[in-house]
Symmetry: C2
Subunit: 419 residues, 2 copies
């Protein structure tokens, strides 16, 4: 199904450029510039929570992310240069470490800060069995379900308009048999079944924000996930996108394996979101590790060879993913190495804030090969100009007058008033 020409990512539009009185402007030099990709180039925005929202009320820290060598200005610049979609952390255990005292204010501030900069904000995750609040242990199943439902409604309803995309449920495949830590969600999933859990997540979230984009998200990309999706769809639960995690601490899987994977999940006719993708710039985790969490080492340095490999891998990975028409977004899991999951050198930026080659490689695609920089063109005798480029938002300007337009299909037309 893939098409490496990426023609499905591109479009053109023919603009009739008009002046203040509505007259077409023939033979007029105009500057056209892309402003935003329609494709979701995402990253986690966990580091922003402390930097924008302020330090946590408690000292128990974020589970992942965090930075102390890169300030908000530098981090914001690096982040916003490449990404248009941010995933913010709503792990129950860190969001509401004490019952009834959720971290709403800091998350709201952070989401607003991102949204004001044109970033689409996504929340992660509404239901999961990991990073659970200790106060939920020992609560009886009916009450756990009631609290879980209330949490979904409160989050999705409370953040509606600011956050309209959610990982509704995370890792439902393993949920009822998860054995790597006591929690209240696994017994609920075991007693009531995966499909019950998925229905609970989607129905509550949908009711709280009918406009939300709601995802299933999983790391288990085996037939198990296919079977779960088929069961969920058969049960009449509407899901908006399939989330595929691809933490590749053990090495890039290669284009062929990724394409096969995408084809398998594209069968359901739903958009695919690569929700969590990671490539390390140090040594690879040994292949015999099954649960990545089991790999605990004191230090995992970024190396020159590792950084060269990561840069090469990331360009191949993004090219290959964009080539598949079902893929709608890619979310890289971390910008800097500080506080990265598992201590892995998975960032695109070193702990000191300097760019790795992978950052440059990604910039060369997202803001280079796949991007229309400010370009001067000339309208023809009818005042029209044809712009070709990647699907997304653009501006056209003449002198100090600027208007916005969108390329959202293979071939469209629009009239632009430079008022």
């Amino acid at each position: 199904m893939s098409d490496t020409s990426l023609r499905h990512r591109r479009g053109k539009t023919t603009l009739v450029v008009r002046g203040p009185e509505g007259q077409p402007l023939p033979e007029q030099p105009v500057t056209v510039a892309q402003q935003r990709h329609a494709f979701g180039f995402g990253n986690i925005g966990f580091d922003f929570v402390d930097l924008v929202g302020g330090p946590r009320p408690e000292a128990d820290g974020q589970p992942f992310g965090g930075t102390d060598q890169v300030d908000l200005e530098r981090l914001g610049e690096l982040w916003l240069n490449l990404f248009n979609t941010a995933t913010l952390p709503f792990y129950w255990g860190s969001y509401e470490p004490r019952r009834g005292a959720p971290d709403t204010e800091r998350l709201t501030k952070t989401a607003r800060w991102l949204a004001e900069r044109g970033v689409t904000v996504k929340g992660h995750p509404l239901v999961w069995h990991t990073v659970q609040p200790p106060w939920l242990l020992g609560v009886d199943l009916d009450e756990v379900e009631r609290l879980q439902r209330a949490r979904i409604r409160d989050l999705v309803g409370g953040f509606a308009g600011l956050i309209d995309t959610w990982d509704a449920i995370n890792e439902a495949v393993i949920m009822p048999v998860f054995a790597n830590g006591d929690n209240a969600i696994t017994p609920l999933a075991r007693a009531r079944g995966r499909i019950h859990m998925v229905r609970m997540a989607f129905e509550e979230a949908r009711a709280a924000n009918p406009a939300a984009t709601l995802l299933l998200n999983d790391f288990d990309l085996s037939s198990a996930y296919e079977c779960l999706i088929e069961g969920v769809l058969e049960a009449g639960i509407r899901i908006d996108a399939i989330g595929l995690q691809t933490h590749m601490h053990q090495g890039y899987r290669g284009e062929e394996q990724m394409q096969q994977l995408l084809d398998r999940f594209a069968r359901y006719g739903l958009p695919l979101h690569l929700t969590e993708t990671t490539l390390v710039s140090g040594h690879l985790m040994p292949p015999e590790i099954v649960d990545l969490n089991d790999y605990q080492i004191p230090e995992w340095p970024s190396t020159p060879e590792g950084e060269a490999r990561q840069a090469d891998d990331i360009a191949r990975h993004y090219r290959s993913l964009l080539a598949h028409p079902a893929v709608e977004s890619i979310n890289y899991w971390g910008l800097t190495d500080r506080g990265a999951w598992l201590g892995a050198p998975a960032g695109l930026v070193r702990a000191d804030g300097s760019r790795k080659p992978s950052y440059d490689a990604l910039e060369a695609l997202i803001k280079g090969e796949w991007w229309l920089p400010p370009t001067t063109m000339r309208t023809d005798a009818d005042g029209t100009v044809t712009v070709e480029g990647f699907l997304g938002d653009y501006t056209v300007s003449a002198g100090d007058r600027t208007a916005r337009f969108t390329i959202d299909a293979a071939d469209t037309a629009a009239t632009i008033d430079l008022a």
Copy 2:
């Protein structure tokens, strides 16, 4: 959930033994003997098809099974001594190698021969992607589905009363992504989904024989199968038992792993059938083999050490399975080594018809420790006698008069007329 005392497999019944005129027979010596286990001790009966039904019309042979050194009398004696449930082969490709010319007659003869000897006959499988008829390749999907549905109706309806247990669908987890041989079923499953395939199999079979016991059967015992089962149950498809394959050519999995497995699948409240279980009496297949079919060697001999290990394993395996209350039957996959799947020395009997230690070990359980041999007891002053034993069918006799009774619960009572 397990109970190694096996008390859930045992029961007792208090019999009032009456004579020809209906009077209780006090202080009467009677002989009580078990005739049959309620538990399904099964094996494949593939070898009987040639021996009872006669040679195949074509020379293309059975896919599995087959014997030329053991005649019907010897094979029947060995088989019937241990087993009460036979699985017969209805692989589409071998059952109907030429379109419209199914092997009905030989299978009917064989099923009758077994049924006349008190054996419950099961058919395997109605829907599968392997051992497919070549004439089905290239047929369009709608027609494949029509033919598949007709096959299910014809088999299940035609054999109703003789065969009332079927593996309705085999290996549905891998079905849409199976890549180890072109066939017409994989594209159907890929286009229409696993749950569609399962529904097709169960609905057609149920309609053709409402009294049938219909199984899902799979070798994939990972979360994928759980997810499939949950989706199928959520879709409202009634399944009567969950079939679990356990071909252990790479070694016995051990009691602990087996119990965890059984607990995982017992959650659905359905009976568990160990449909295909194998333990070899030679060297073990290397652990790195993923698809057992990929292991092709010229010769795989049975060895004295292997036979000792197999005997030990089989006793542990059967004890552990019977200890779990959800398990309703165990079907061993092969009696003799001749023509065994993969050429493995998986039989309980050597190719020359001599018993291996595993046969003796199984006999010591099924017809020894778990069996009530003819036992003389004495009725009390009221003409009653209490019989304890494994759930199943029994006879009680005095002189030349014999009557049958059943122990089907922990504690029951019955009146027996020795007419």
